[in-house]
């Protein structure tokens, strides 16, 4: 068990957790339509992009937007946590799916390109004069959950008192064209879990959670347990039986009173197969009566940031005794009917579950508790 002592989200919906939380609460989406030519792409797309001008006004002189957003996010999270980030008792854990991959577009050679994920992590931890080698997690779209699990384990091993978990990804022609080639993108704002869902939208974000192994707990919320399991069926398609996702859920639900689960924040990308797979896994885990939501229609799929960002919004919702509806959801056509609220609801229950899945057959589940 580890304790959240500070957090931040930088996204299209704002540069603080509070800005982002209030935007979600008022039902605002950061998704916008972008014409062909944006980011050099020959096709139009709908996505959630960070205000780069605001980003650069806040921090100058560093290599890339990804690193700037990450550093700003850590500064903001530590305004709340107020720990000495230069201490050897603090470990930085950086989660990113594609890092600075956009740098491949402009040809140059050598390590100075900043293409390596460990370079970004070193630059970010180095900005705060942290003496430890940062950990870099790159586990496709579950990276942000995998990084929090790594934080739990590192803090449990007793070497560190604090973990700074950063999830960040920026969009580029590389990433968007790849998802377009998979025919995974929806031309309009996505509709998670909806019978008429047409695919996902991508999003940019940097998000940070600072965890402690003990001590002051301002939100009174802790990360209790996390698990990662593989589908072992296909490298890019979700399991038809939801096997890995179900096993991850089963693992974190041991000794948990399901009656006390406030809600499940699913991956809910709004692709045909992901959402159906999750409906199967949720039902198999005996959670079909528990409210389920997805935040993808607010932020898009923010890749390596998603696990961190969506955990933050969900933790604050749990504290706020609130269950958010899934924006753009109207009706479901799953064989296993889920409880998917269409309006904001109140809850006084104490657990929240976060689910994520990704390429490579990976699935993660986290459980948080309000004390």
């Amino acid at each position: 068990m580890i304790v959240r002592i500070g957090d931040n989200i930088i996204s299209s919906l704002g540069f603080t957790t509070e800005e982002n939380y209030q935007a979600v609460k008022s039902g605002r989406s950061g998704l916008k339509f972008y014409d062909a030519g944006t980011l050099g792409l020959p096709e139009a797309f709908t996505a959630s992009l960070i205000d780069k001008q605001r980003l650069n006004e806040n921090l100058t002189g560093l290599e890339t937007d990804l690193e700037k957003a990450s550093i700003l996010s850590v500064i903001s999270a530590n305004n709340e946590a107020k720990i000495d980030l230069s201490s050897e008792k603090v470990l930085f854990i950086f989660s990113s799916t594609k890092g600075n991959v956009d740098l491949l577009e402009s040809p140059s050679v050598g390590d100075s390109r900043g293409l390596f994920l460990w370079q970004s992590a070193q630059l970010i931890a180095g900005y705060f004069n942290n003496p430890n080698t940062p950990i870099v997690v790159s586990n496709a779209c579950i990276s942000g959950a995998a990084a929090q699990i790594a934080a739990m384990r590192e803090l449990a091993s007793g070497l560190y008192d604090y973990a700074v978990v950063i999830g960040a990804d920026m969009l580029s022609k590389f990433i968007i064209s790849g998802f377009q080639s998979f025919k995974a993108l929806s031309p309009e704002p996505c509709r998670p879990f909806d019978a008429d869902r047409t695919g996902l939208n991508l999003g940019e974000a940097a998000a940070t959670i600072i965890y402690a192994n003990k001590g002051f707990n301002p939100l009174a919320i802790q990360l209790l347990q996390g698990a990662i399991r593989n589908d072992a069926t296909h490298i890019s398609a979700p399991s038809r039986a939801g096997e890995g996702s179900y096993l991850a859920l089963k693992n974190i639900l041991q000794n948990i009173d399901k009656e006390q689960i406030a809600f499940v924040n699913a991956h809910g990308t709004a692709t045909l197969y992901n959402d159906e797979m999750e409906s199967i896994a949720i039902a198999r885990a005996g959670l079909d009566t528990v409210p389920v939501n997805s935040l993808k229609a607010y932020f898009g799929h923010t890749l390596g940031a998603a696990g961190v960002l969506e955990s933050i919004i969900s933790m604050h919702a749990l504290k706020d005794e609130t269950i958010f509806p899934t924006l753009n959801f109207h009706s479901q056509d799953f064989e296993n009917q889920l409880n998917i609220p269409i309006k904001i609801q109140k809850t006084n229950k104490k657990y929240l579950i976060k689910m994520l899945s990704g390429f490579g057959g990976v699935n993660a589940a986290l459980i948080f508790e309000k004390s």
């Binding site: 390596f116 950990i135 496709a140 990662i228």
Partner: protein, 188 residues
């Protein structure tokens, strides 16, 4: 918790063609191999050698975690994919290339081949780090289901194609899992 290295293997190749030659020499019939990128091929081949004499191989199991590390993530596949989108006049983004632009696909390939439903994780480090390997593998056993870890350093970028893989278990065997031993075996 005392852990043991049950098996280990080191492979390195100078060219992609050598990887395919090695596959052929093993007389394995697994056509999916030819669809894989070099990173996945390296991990796949090492895992074949590790698992080949394992009892009840292919029986689905959840208690084995795959923990991989490397320096360059999927930069080799990334560079290849970039050539398919660099020029809008000659633009042909391919899903079969794009899917390998994630380092953890190799762990997925090994899971599919061997029906492994346990944890799969991928970490990136500046260079092979026996201390981080030791710590991360030990930490993986904090998952109460995990009884074995297949740990791999698997790197394919520019001139370097190498894989170092260990099967680490709680069950007693001859080699004790330690930082010094990892370093020694990696440098063999």
């Amino acid at each position: 918790m005392q852990l043991f290295i049950k098996k280990h293997i080191n492979l390195s190749f100078k060219k992609s063609a050598e990887i395919t030659d090695f596959y052929r020499s093993l007389k394995i019939d697994y056509p999916k191999f030819f669809k894989m990128d070099n990173l996945s091929k390296l991990g796949f081949l090492a895992s074949e050698l590790i698992f080949k004499d394992e009892e009840s191989r292919f029986v689905p199991r959840e208690d084995l975690a795959i923990i991989c590390f490397n320096r360059s993530s999927s930069l080799e596949a990334d560079t290849l994919y970039q050539t398919t989108i660099q020029d809008n006049e000659n633009y042909f983004p391919s899903p079969s290339v794009f899917v390998y632009t994630l380092p953890n696909i190799v762990a997925g390939e090994i899971s599919i081949r061997n029906k492994l439903f346990g944890e799969t994780s991928f970490y990136i480090c500046k260079e092979f780090d026996e201390e981080q390997t030791f710590r991360t593998v030990n930490n993986a056993f904090q998952d109460q289901t995990t009884r074995s870890v297949l740990a791999a350093w698997v790197e394919s970028f520019e001139e370097k194609q190498e894989v170092f893989m260990m099967l680490i278990e709680t069950e007693t065997s001859d080699i004790i899992f330690s930082i010094e031993k990892i370093k020694e075996l990696f440098n063999n």
